[in-house]
Structure formats: structure tokens, C-alpha cells
């Protein structure tokens, strides 16, 4: 019944009813012949009312057998209605004759012709489908596609005819008329339902298929697009393939840092700088926004600007520029409040993002580690990407495969290393002792130098060296200590990955000294300025008072206000701190770039080009090419970020500078690495979770949070600059907002929340929660480790079991097969066993023929060698085709279950 689905449901219903009633009116058929078949559609509709109910059945009965042929012709020439109408009566006549022969058993008779016609019909239908789909695809629809109007018209007609068919029985027409009508209507419906309803269905289907395809393609493209959107992904992959994942981990870290800084930048620029620039008082309106008279002349010099003095100092980039007006602009934007909240949320966001990424890294690391069993097999069998068709990509792939193999080799060597444990321990203790000595020494040196510099700062006319002693000592320490640590660390003989961590930790400790001195100096400066503030404040008041109340001026006419540049003002320690951080960031960046340029690039150029005319091999010998200094770069990045966090409160523009710095250093360092560095001697795989970096970053974040919190909480803000001027403490801005802008009950709630009686229990609760979660996670981790151990043990058992069996097999066949030695005869034997075996397997000949001969037989060989150990006839079950999905699994399970061979 291939054509059945093509028929509309109403038709089917009509037909069955017709078929049932057929038997009741056998005599009507003779009338049918005489009825006019050539009645046009118009006639049919006009004369519809004359038809009789008996005719309907007749028409319905012969419609079905006749329909295939009709359709065949109709579909080919859809538009030629006349021709079709001529044809269909002929078919009907034929059908009628046939039906007359078997009146009584109409149903029984009806079946064979249908079946006869099924085949050609199917063909036509297929052709039609094809035709239609092609026309759809090419959208050159030709005779098939109808215009919109025609379509709607036909649709209406079809609906009408369907209704007619349904209500035919109730019409007071003569039988013949009914029959004709019905036939006409059904023919029409069948034809146009094919063209329209079904056609529309088909079209809809084709459309859906098209959309599905498009959707798949879109998803694919979108996936590609997404990977393309990951910034610098290709660059990092490139580096990774040449230098290993450890170097790449630095760049990934750099990229992550860039992302974090972009968010901070958005926060600060969007909520502080832009509102201030747009809505705040313009430059020159008040003293804090004006360059003082004394500095005005040189304020635009480059040397001044380079030191972030002059116009830059009195710009929105620094704290001092902001006014303490509660609200600014028509939006009544509460800038001081926003300033404070942004300063807090910079830290909040950073803490959150660092901790979150640490957590997600840990999650990722637990699910890994599963494939430890087959590291080399995986690398060996699956590393090449067979879709690579580009020679450059292929080169990269070569490099990355080599690197990954090298990484695994290093890991492997480490794990297989067996040495004198006591010696190693002794050496490690010694190394740590030495390094602690170094750190203590440098710490004391720093302390000493800082003390001295404080003395020097009180003295007059000190020499250049004495003034810059701290900086010189610090940079000397920074230059010589890391290589020293590295040399000492060579004693310890750690795996390079662990070695890197130690190195990072030690240099971190050294850098902390750097930070300490810097902060100390800064604090001294701040306190000095704070102590001067009172006098400056008095001077300012005095000046203003004198200016407005001086005698010799007409009392009735108010004096023009004093020009803001002339107002004496305080030193504004916040801006000074901000400038300090800004300078530090910029000089740090420059030093990094120059070091790369000189230390790496020039060295590489020298080695590369002077090698032609030098007494020894420069490339292999002493200077050689530089390796990428992972620890130094990572720590540089981390400490730089610490500076940003500390400084961003006092210099909102600092984050912008840092974003630029990270951006340039990404490109610059990528270029430098690829052009002038060589891979590490021992390429090692970075731990996927660079949680160590994150841990250091968290520590630095915490450390940089302390001084900022201290200044906010316990130092009074400057009286004449910054958004908090005039307040006792910076956080007073919150109190002020709560009091003025919130309903009183909220203020009460806040006051209640700030009650120490509530805070201390809350903190206690938090500690409890931390303790609980920590213990839970520990127990989970223990369970995890135990499970892993179990799996490992199971595997070992299985392996030893099998190897016993394997050796048993070898003994059985009279050969001694050693581990890796290849024995030709042995393989011959197994092959024979295979052919024997495979012939016994009831494989369909088709599969035998299809497999690329040896490949399938190879598979079977392996099956047989592992399965039947003696050369006995294979067990019955293996003769049957194995379960199609996982044959090896069942086979291995079988061999595991089977008792060891009896030898």
C-alpha cells in the first residue's frame, strides 16, 4: 500500500464508507458508464445538487484502483487539466468493467489490481520526489511551482471539494450526478492535495531538512568561530607546540590576567572616570582640578609628563582630581560613593575570580589522571591528526608531538628514578638551608639599607648613590639571587615541575622584601605629608580669609573669587601614592621589554650571526640562546598585578595602563619567544591546573589588600583633594549615604548589622563552615584516591594473569617467546591457527569479502590468539559472530573468567 500515505484522511474515510455501502447498491454501476465524464469543473459545481447518494459509493470504489495511473499522468503534466480529465475516465471505465465482474466480493477483488500497480506507482512517486526535490533545490521550479495566488485559490478549492465529499451523502441529487460529482471532487482533491497539501508537506519537509542541515553547519561554524574568538589561541598553541606546555602556561596565565584586567578596567572606567569626565566640574574650575601657578610653566613638558606630574597629575587618572560633591550632573550620580564602592568591588571581584578559577582548576584535575595507564600508547596511537593537509600545521604538529613525548619521557624518568634516598634528602635539606641563609641575608640587607636611607633622607646634600641606595641594592638582589637559587636548586634534583614551584616560591619570598621596602618608603612619605597637612590647611584658610577680608577693597562689591591656580593647597598624599604606583608600573614594563630586547633578542642575534666567525661554537657553547624564564616572568606578572591592585584605588587610570601593558607584552613576548628563545633542555609538562600561579596570585592579592584597607580605615583623607576630602575617614561616605539616601529603618538595620555582637558569631560560623567543608572534601579525596588505587590494582592483577596465560600458551606450543624478540615461526603458527579458526567462524561471505583482507584477518588473529590458548578446536561460542558492539570486552571478560590453562 505504498500510495496510502499520499491520500488525505478525509478521502480515506469516504472511501471506506463507500466500500461498505458498495454491496448495497450493486445495480447502479451500469448507470455510471452513461454519466457524463467530461463535465468540466464549473458544470460539476453547478450541477452538484442533482446527484444521488448511490453514485458516491460507486465512484469511491473505483477511485482507488484508478488513482495510481491517474496520478502518474497527472503529476507529469499537472497543468494540462483537460488531457488528464480525458485520461481518467478511461481508467475509470476499465476499472468499472473489472468491478462489474466481481460485484459481490468487491473488497476481495480490489486488492490484486492495487498490488499490481504498486510497483510502477512507487517508481513514479520516486521520480516525482526526485524531480520535486531537484526543482526545490535549484529553485528553478518551472511548471511545478505555482504562484502565491494560484496556490491560495487551489487550496480553497481543495477545501471546498473536501467538504463536498464529506457532505455528499446528504445531498438530494440523483445517483449518477452524485457519482460524477464525487469522482470529480476526489480527483481534484487527490491531484491538488498532491500538489499542494502533500506538496506543501513535502516542501515543508524539504525545508526542514534544509534548515536542519543549515543548523548543523551553523553550529559547526559557530564552534569554529568561538575558537577563533579565543584571543591569541593560535599564538599560544604555536608556542606550546614548540616550547611545551610549561611555557604556554605562562601565556595562558597572561591571557587570563588580561581578561581580569579588562573587567576591572570596565568597572573603573565605566563607573568612575567616564561619569567624572562627562558630568563632573570641568578642569580649572576648582583648585584641585587646576595645575598650581608654580607648576604651570613646565606642566606640559614631556619630562614632567613622563613623571606623571603636570597636567597628568591633575587629571581624572588620579585620586586628587575628584571632587567631594555628593552628587554630580543631572543624573545626581553619587560619585564619592561610587568611587568607594568601585574600590571595594575591584578587590571583591578579583578575589572571587581568583578563587573561582582555582576551584574550577581543582575540579578539572580530578577528572583527569584517569588516563595515566596508557600515556604512551595514547600518544603513540592517537597523536597525529590525519586531517592535517597544510605543511605548516604539519610542522607544528611534529613539534608538538615531539614535545609531548619529551615531556612524558621526563615524567617517566622521574618516576623511574631510584637513587640513594638518604643522599637526596641530605642534599635537599642542604639546599634549603643555603637558600634560607640567602633569603635571611638579603632580608637583613634590605632592612639595613632601608634604615640607612631613612637616615639619609633626614640629612642634607647626600650623594647620588646614597639617595638611590635602596633601589640599587634591590635590583642587584633581584638580578643575582634567582640564578643563585637555581644553582642551589640543582642540588635538590627535583622533577622540573616541582623544581619550578620551589623556585617560584623562593623568588616570591625575595620579591616580598622588595615589596616591603617599597611600602615602607611609601608609608613614611604618607605620614610625612599627613603631618604637614595641618599647617597647609591653616595656610590655605589664612590665605583665603585674607583675600576676601583684606582692606582696601570696596565692601559693597564682592571681590572676584581667587583664581583656583593661586590657592595654596596640601600635598595630597593619595595622588602621590597613585603616581608612585603608576611610575613603578611603567618603569617595570620598560625594564621587562628592554631586558627581553637585550637579553634575549640581541643575544640570539649575536649567537646566530657571530657564530660564523667565532672561535668556538656559540650556539652549543657558552652564550647559546636564552631559555624562556618561566618563573621570573610569572612572578613579574603576579607582582605587577599586586601593584595594580594596590594602586588602582589612588590612581583609577592605572588599570588602563596595565591593560595596555598586558596587551603589548602579549604580542611582544610571543614574538620574542618564537624568535629568540630555545626550548628548555628538559621540557616538562605544566600541571594542567596552574593552581600554583593562582595561589601566589591570591597571596599577593591578599597582601596588596592590606595596605589599601589600612589607608582606607585608619588614615584621614587629604582635606583638599579627592572624593572623600573633608571627611574624617574614607568609609564615612557609606555612613553618609545610608543616613541621607536610605530610609531610617535601613540605617538602623545597618547599624545593627555592624554590631560586633553579630559580626563575631558570623565569623565563627564561617570558620565552622570552612572547617566542615574542608573535612568533607578531604574525606572525598581520600575515597577517590582509594578507588583509583583499587582500579590500578585490578588492572595489575589482570595483566599478570594474562601474562601467565600468555607464557603458558607459548610453552604449550613448544616455543619460548621472550618479551620483545620476534619469532617468525610463532607468528606463522598463530596465523595458521587463525585461518583454521576463521574458517570455523560462521562469518557471512560478504564480510569476508569486504574486509580489507588482512585487516579483518588481523583482527581475527588477535582474537584467536588471546582466546583459545591450546590449539584445540575453538569453543563453540567464539564461532558465532561476536556481539557487534564490544567484542574485545566480551573476549577479555571471558578470558578473565576462564580458569587458568591446565599445563
Amino acid at each position: 500500500m505504498a500510495h496510502k500515505p499520499e491520500l488525505g484522511a478525509p478521502q480515506m474515510a469516504a472511501r471506506t464508507s463507500v466500500a461498505c455501502s458498495q454491496l448495497q447498491f450493486p445495480g447502479d454501476r451500469s448507470r455510471r458508464k452513461t454519466s457524463k465524464k467530461q463535465t468540466s469543473k464549473a458544470e460539476g459545481t453547478s450541477g452538484r445538487h442533482r446527484a444521488q447518494s448511490g453514485q458516491k459509493e460507486e465512484a469511491g470504489g473505483n477511485l482507488r484502483p484508478g488513482s495510481p495511473r491517474r496520478k502518474q499522468s497527472e503529476r507529469r503534466r499537472r497543468q494540462e487539466e483537460l488531457g488528464e480529465q480525458k485520461r481518467s475516465p478511461a481508467g475509470r471505465n476499465l476499472e468499472g468493467r473489472r468491478k462489474r465482474d466481481g460485484k459481490a466480493s468487491f473488497r476481495g477483488q480490489r486488492v490484486p489490481p492495487e498490488k499490481e500497480k504498486e510497483v510502477p506507482k512507487e517508481e513514479t512517486w520516486k521520480q516525482l520526489k526526485k524531480h520535486r526535490s531537484t526543482s526545490l533545490a535549484s529553485s528553478a521550479s518551472g511548471g511545478e511551482s505555482l504562484s502565491e495566488e494560484e496556490l491560495t485559490w487551489i487550496l480553497e478549492q481543495v477545501e471546498e471539494k473536501k467538504k463536498l465529499i464529506a457532505t455528499m451523502r446528504n445531498k438530494p441529487w440523483p445517483m449518477a450526478k452524485k457519482l460524477t460529482e464525487l469522482r470529480e471532487a476526489q480527483a481534484f482533491v487527490e491531484k491538488y492535495e498532491g500538489a499542494l497539501g502533500k506538496g506543501k508537506g513535502k516542501r515543508l519537509y524539504a525545508y526542514r531538512m534544509l534548515m536542519a542541515k543549515k543548523w548543523v553547519k551553523f553550529k559547526r561554524d559557530f564552534g569554529n568561530f568561538k575558537t577563533q574568538c579565543i584571543p591569541w589561541e593560535m599564538k599560544i598553541k604555536d608556542i606550546e607546540s614548540h616550547f611545551g606546555s610549561s611555557v604556554a602556561s605562562y601565556f595562558i596565565f597572561l591571557r587570563w590576567m588580561y581578561g581580569v584586567n579588562l573587567v576591572l578596567f570596565g568597572l573603573i572606567f565605566g563607573l568612575i572616570i567616564i561619569p567624572e569626565v562627562l558630568m563632573g566640574m570641568p578642569y580649572g574650575s576648582i583648585p584641585r582640578k587646576t595645575v598650581p601657578r608654580a607648576e604651570e610653566e613646565k606642566a606640559m613638558d614631556f619630562s614632567v609628563l613622563w613623571d606623571f606630574e603636570g597636567y597628568i597629575k591633575y587629571s581624572a587618572l588620579f585620586y586628587g582630581y575628584y571632587n567631594n560633591q555628593r552628587t554630580i550632573g543631572w543624573l545626581r550620580y553619587r560619585l564619592p560613593m561610587a568611587y568607594f564602592m568601585v574600590g571595594v568591588s575591584v578587590f571583591g571581584y578579583s578575589l572571587m575570580i581568583v578563587i573561582r578559577s582555582m576551584a574550577s582548576n581543582t575540579q578539572g584535575s580530578t577528572s583527569e589522571g584517569e588516563n595515566d595507564n596508557f600515556t604512551f600508547s595514547f600518544k603513540m596511537f592517537t597523536s597525529w591528526d590525519y586531517l592535517i593537509g597544510n605543511s605548516e600545521t604539519a610542522d607544528n604538529k611534529y613539534a608538538s608531538i615531539t614535545t609531548s613525548f619529551k615531556e612524558s619521557i621526563v615524567d617517566e624518568q622521574e618516576s623511574n628514578k631510584e637513587e640513594n634516598i638518604h643522599l637526596t634528602r641530605f642534599l635537599r635539606v642542604l639546599a634549603n638551608f643555603l637558600i634560607i641563609c640567602c633569603l635571611c641575608g638579603s632580608g637583613y640587607l634590605i632592612y639595613f639599607v632601608v634604615k640607612r636611607s631613612q637616615e639619609f633622607s633626614k640629612m642634607q646634600n647626600v650623594s647620588w648613590y646614597e639617595r638611590n641606595e635602596v633601589e640599587i641594592v634591590m635590583s642587584l638582589l633581584g638580578m643575582f639571587c634567582p640564578p643563585l637559587f637555581e644553582t642551589i636548586a640543582a642540588l635538590e634534583n627535583y622533577h622540573p615541575r616541582i623544581g619550578l614551584k620551589w623556585q617560584l616560591g623562593r623568588i616570591f619570598a625575595l620579591f616580598l622584601g622588595n615589596l616591603y621596602t617599597f611600602l615602607l618608603a611609601l608609608m613614611d612619605d604618607v605620614h610625612l605629608k599627613l603631618s604637614n597637612e595641618d599647617t597647609v590647611k591653616n595656610i590655605t584658610h589664612w590665605t583665603l580669609f585674607n583675600y576676601y577680608n583684606s582692606s582696601g577693597w570696596n565692601e559693597s562689591v564682592p571681590r572676584p573669587p581667587l583664581h583656583p591656580a593661586d590657592v595654596p593647597r596640601g600635598s595630597c598624599w593619595e595622588t602621590a601614592v597613585g603616581i608612585e604606583f603608576m611610575r613603578l608600573t611603567v618603569s617595570d614594563m620598560l625594564v621587562t621589554y628592554i631586558t627581553i630586547l637585550l637579553g634575549d633578542f640581541l643575544r640570539a642575534c649575536f649567537v646566530r650571526f657571530m657564530n660564523y666567525c667565532w672561535c668556538w661554537d656559540l650556539e652549543a657553547g657558552f652564550p647559546s640562546y636564552a631559555e624562556f624564564d618561566i618563573s621570573g616572568n610569572v612572578l613579574g606578572l603576579i607582582f605587577n598585578q599586586g601593584m595594580i591592585w594596590m594602586g588602582s584605588f589612588y590612581a583609577p587610570g592605572l588599570v588602563g595602563v596595565n591593560v595596555l601593558r598586558l596587551l603589548t607584552s602579549m604580542y611582544f613576548q610571543c614574538w620574542a619567544v618564537m624568535s629568540s628563545n630555545v626550548p628548555h633542555e628538559r621540557v616538562f609538562k605544566a600541571s594542567r591546573s596552574n593552581n600554583f600561579y593562582m595561589g601566589l596570585l591570591l597571596l599577593v592579592l591578599f597582601l596588596s589588600l592590606l595596605p589599601v584597607a589600612y589607608t582606607i580605615m585608619s588614615l584621614p583623607p587629604s582635606f583638599d583633594c579627592g572624593p572623600f576630602s573633608g571627611k574624617n575617614r574614607m568609609y564615612d561616605v557609606i555612613q553618609e549615604t545610608i543616613e541621607n539616601d536610605f530610609p531610617t529603618f535601613l540605617g538602623k538595620i545597618f547599624a545593627f548589622l555592624a554590631n560586633p555582637g553579630l559580626i563575631i558569631p558570623a565569623i565563627l560560623l564561617m570558620f565552622l563552615a570552612i572547617y566542615y567543608l574542608n573535612s568533607v572534601s578531604k574525606s572525598l579525596a581520600r575515597a577517590n584516591a582509594q578507588l583509583r588505587k583499587k582500579i590500578q590494582a585490578l588492572r595489575e592483577v589482570e595483566k599478570s594473569h594474562k601474562s601467565v596465560k600468555g607464557s603458558a600458551m607459548v610453552k604449550d606450543s613448544g616455543y619460548t617467546l621472550k618479551g620483545s624478540s620476534k619469532n617468525a615461526t610463532q607468528f606463522q603458527l598463530t596465523k595458521e591457527g587463525t585461518t583454521l579458526h576463521s574458517s570455523s567462524q560462521s562469518q557471512t561471505p560478504d564480510q569476508k569479502a569486504q574486509g580489507p583482507g588482512t585487516s579483518s584477518s588481523a583482527g581475527r588473529t588477535s582474537l584467536s590468539t588471546t582466546k583459545h590458548i591450546p590449539v584445540s578446536p575453538p569453543p563453540r561460542d567464539s564461532g558465532q559472530p561476536l556481539p557487534q558492539t564490544h567484542p574485545w570486552r566480551s573476549a577479555s571478560g571471558k578470558s578473565a573468567r576462564r580458569p587458568p590453562p591446565d599445563n
Binding site: F376, I409, P881
Partner: protein
């Protein structure tokens, strides 16, 4: 489509190939186009030289192995049927219909096992059903080149055998190979999505 079907008719054993490989008509026609494009002298079959001209295979360290895999049993030519049969290994696996399949019917060429078998065959040089240490070393040399010392290569090969070998015969059999790659998503990785 009319032209395509007439085209399709010109391919010998059209229906057989379709049934065996499960390719759709369109992709078979496409493959036939490709086949004819590769066949430079209109011989009706491909020889090694024809395949060696493909640029992407030239950069592939295992290019020769791939070409070899098109010529099973050491023959020197492959007709369209054989060509399609090899490529059928890379047909993506459809989700539906896996449960309904008649168990007597042969496993489709793109099943997991057949895909694995194909990969295995790339490494199994002498086609004895095992990847020996020697064969592994050869592949390694192709893949890594001269950048790693011979000693290290040997240790890698040893390690691989040690990892994968379960019956202690010093070579990786197909079952062991399959077990090694048990966690690998072979169905997806060894599928070329254009070969629907």
C-alpha cells in the same frame, strides 16, 4: 538529480556498494568524482602513484601507511569499490538503528571495531595481527623524527608495549590495542563528517 542518477548508473555494482558501505547516493557520486579525479590515466583503478600525488598525504608522516591501507593483500591497484570500502571506515556513525540491526548482517564498516581495526592496521606493518616493538619504533621515527634520540625512542616503544601488552608476548595485539583506546572516542575521532 536526474543527471546524478544517470551518472550513478554508470558506476558498476552501484547498489552493492551502497548496501555494503552505507553511503548515501550523493556522497557516493561525490566519491566517484573524486575517484575519477585521482585516476589520472582513466584506468578505472588507482595505483600507488595516484594516491601519492595528494598533497595532504605528503606532509603526513604516516602517509605511506595510509596509502598502503588502500591496497590490501599487496595488490597494486584499487578499484572504485575498494576505494569506497576503505573510506567507509570513516563514515560517521549514525545514532539510530544500532539496536535494530539483524545480528546476522555483517558489522557495518564504520563500526567502532572496524574503525579501530583500520587504525591498528596502520601500525601493523607486516600484518601479522600484532604491533611489535619494531613496528612501533618505525612509526615513532616517522612521527618524531630526528629530534629525539634513538635511545629515548626505544624507551618510548618499550613503555608503550609495557603499558598495552597484557598477555606478555611483547607485542600489542588488536584486542590490547582496542583496550588501550577504550576511553578514546573513536567513533567521533575517526569520522569525517563529509562522508555522510
Amino acid at each position: 538529480m536526474g543527471s546524478c542518477s544517470s551518472h550513478a548508473a554508470s558506476i558498476p555494482d552501484w547498489d552493492d556498494i551502497r548496501r555494503e558501505t552505507g553511503f548515501s547516493q550523493a556522497s557516493l557520486v561525490r566519491l566517484h568524482h573524486r575517484f575519477r579525479a585521482l585516476d589520472c590515466n582513466k584506468k578505472g583503478y588507482l595505483c600507488r602513484m595516484d594516491l601519492q600525488q595528494i598533497g595532504a598525504l605528503a606532509v603526513n608522516p604516516l602517509g605511506d601507511r595510509i596509502i598502503d591501507s588502500f591496497f590490501p593483500d599487496g595488490s597494486h591497484s584499487v578499484d572504485f569499490r575498494g576505494f569506497v570500502r576503505i573510506l567507509a571506515h570513516f563514515r560517521p556513525v549514525e545514532d539510530e538503528g544500532t539496536g535494530i540491526r539483524d545480528p546476522k548482517e555483517p558489522e557495518p564498516l564504520n563500526s567502532r571495531m572496524n574503525k579501530l581495526r583500520f587504525a591498528f592496521q596502520l601500525y601493523d606493518l607486516d600484518r601479522d595481527g600484532k604491533i611489535s616493538r619494531h613496528e612501533m619504533l618505525q612509526v615513532l621515527r616517522l612521527m618524531v623524527g630526528a629530534q629525539v634520540t634513538e635511545e629515548q625512542l626505544e624507551s618510548i616503544a618499550d613503555r608503550t608495549v609495557q603499558e598495552a601488552d597484557e598477555d606478555g608476548d611483547g607485542a600489542v595485539s588488536f584486542l590490547e590495542f582496542a583496550k588501550t583506546l577504550e576511553k578514546m572516542n573513536v567513533e567521533q575521532k575517526m569520522s569525517i563528517r563529509i562522508l555522510k
